[in-house]
Symmetry: D3
Subunit: 115 residues, 6 copies
């Protein structure tokens, strides 16, 4: 697997363990709830991950963008579809989203390059 994808996942896993290891119940339940949010329901998983991606982009959270890009890739989204999500994010959120789009584009290249 690509190096930067691996690093991202490792740090994420390691620090989630540190956080959850402290036993704060509110945080533990929020983490669970976060997982449930993207489960299939009236909307399918791919649509929910698209929602998570565009929300992360307009809020300009690089790590959240990477996470949802990975999930969008797993859900089988095409590059053309992902760029239409990028387009919505950049129009709604403005050019301030462009630098995050550059990093998102780089991460997406890594995701599709490792297939």
């Amino acid at each position: 697997m690509n190096n930067s994808i691996e690093e991202f996942n490792e740090y994420r896993t390691k620090m989630n363990e540190v956080i959850l290891g402290k036993g704060n119940k509110v945080i533990g339940r929020l983490f669970n709830l976060d997982t449930n949010t993207y489960a299939a329901g009236a909307l399918d998983v791919a649509t929910k991950e698209m929602l998570g991606l565009v929300a992360s982009m307009v809020l300009r959270c690089d790590d959240c963008i990477k996470y949802h890009l990975g999930k969008c890739h797993e859900a089988g989204l095409s590059t053309e579809q992902v760029y239409e999500i990028f387009a919505v994010a950049n129009i709604v959120g403005g050019t301030i989203v462009i630098p995050h789009t550059r990093r998102a584009a780089e991460f997406w290249e890594e995701l599709i390059g490792e297939a």
Copy 2:
């Protein structure tokens, strides 16, 4: 048509005319681009409007939320689907999104009540 939906649309139309009437080209082109962003492409219109809605919710823009709720209604989304979008927005954006969700829920009731 419901009163508050009508008022919202009227103010929006009236002020867009004032703005576009000043002839600023950048603003004119951005308004056009905004319309194109939600046209069917690799993603269909309903999906794009869902993306616009969730982005508006996490950025906490009541007028943008109303606009995209109207479009989601036109696109035939069900109440259950709309509430799953609300759920993503509230989880990603936090409880700070709740007051906007209240106003969104009120507007949605008006939209489905007038059918």
Copy 3:
């Protein structure tokens, strides 16, 4: 009770019922979790409500500010203490917080005026 406090609470209650009545589980659990977050633990209730207030102020959510001001009042905070929270919010969040501080100050006057 003061009119604007009452109106605020009534709208909040009415719309929460509409939202929770739709049966979305993620939203229902987030609402529960929100309540638990401010329960006494390693930090007491007054401290947690102060945290909720300052977070609401820098994120500039008027309804959230009103809600936590009410809770701070119930927890027995003095005007001097509340204004020190206002000061932190205005320094961290900048002058963009001032208009929200005006509305917060107005609501606080109502809260202490009705004692």
Copy 4:
């Protein structure tokens, strides 16, 4: 003077008095500093007020926008110049700024209408 301009100024003055009357020194000094920030220096007053306006727009604070629009009007800015500031704000901040631009456009019409 136009009604909504007058109302805006009156509320602003009244609540500033309430806030400053509590004697919190940090808030008092921040209010003073805010005034000094826009005084002529290496940049002239008109330029500084334009900076205040565009910052208020991308941060989407309607009251701050009104305040700086009033100052831009006093500084003699033309409608064409003000709309170029609107353009920068909408491009940088995205379409989420449009509803605030509508209210800004309405307030600007009132300001230039009362000359």
Copy 5:
């Protein structure tokens, strides 16, 4: 002292000197005011630093978080208390705060590890 704490403090000190060395009075006074904001008053220092921490978290400023974590550590807060602040920040600000919480958790481990 731990390496990343030291690096953070050194860069902070070095660049504050560059900034203050330019003699801009507004910035100089804001830096002073920032220090005064967290001095003991109607609220004690520990409470004010908790307010600064939660505000920094919901505004998602990693450097501000580190700074206030250091101050919370000096003020004698326990890990359990710090995690209750993390909980408020994540509930109010949403899962978008989680990546910042990971980095905050890492920095806190360093702070308590060096005692």
Copy 6:
């Protein structure tokens, strides 16, 4: 040319090519529009770049800040003028802008050091 300025520009150019190479029309047109926004009109280029800089600062986008600092340098702004823009950004946006001001100050030193 200074190393970090060069690196910044190279990454920017490389990733813009990746993004534009995908052929998404909305993104392509937004990139064009972004360029037009800062062209001379009723306001001159220097003023528009100042507006872009202050907007980038209050929205706390480091890459956007660097880009507009470069343009402000090309437009001949003095250090004193740039610091007055920093002052407006820090007052409007609060102390949360300070860490971004540190990185902006560092980049500005590089820009003026290479003349």
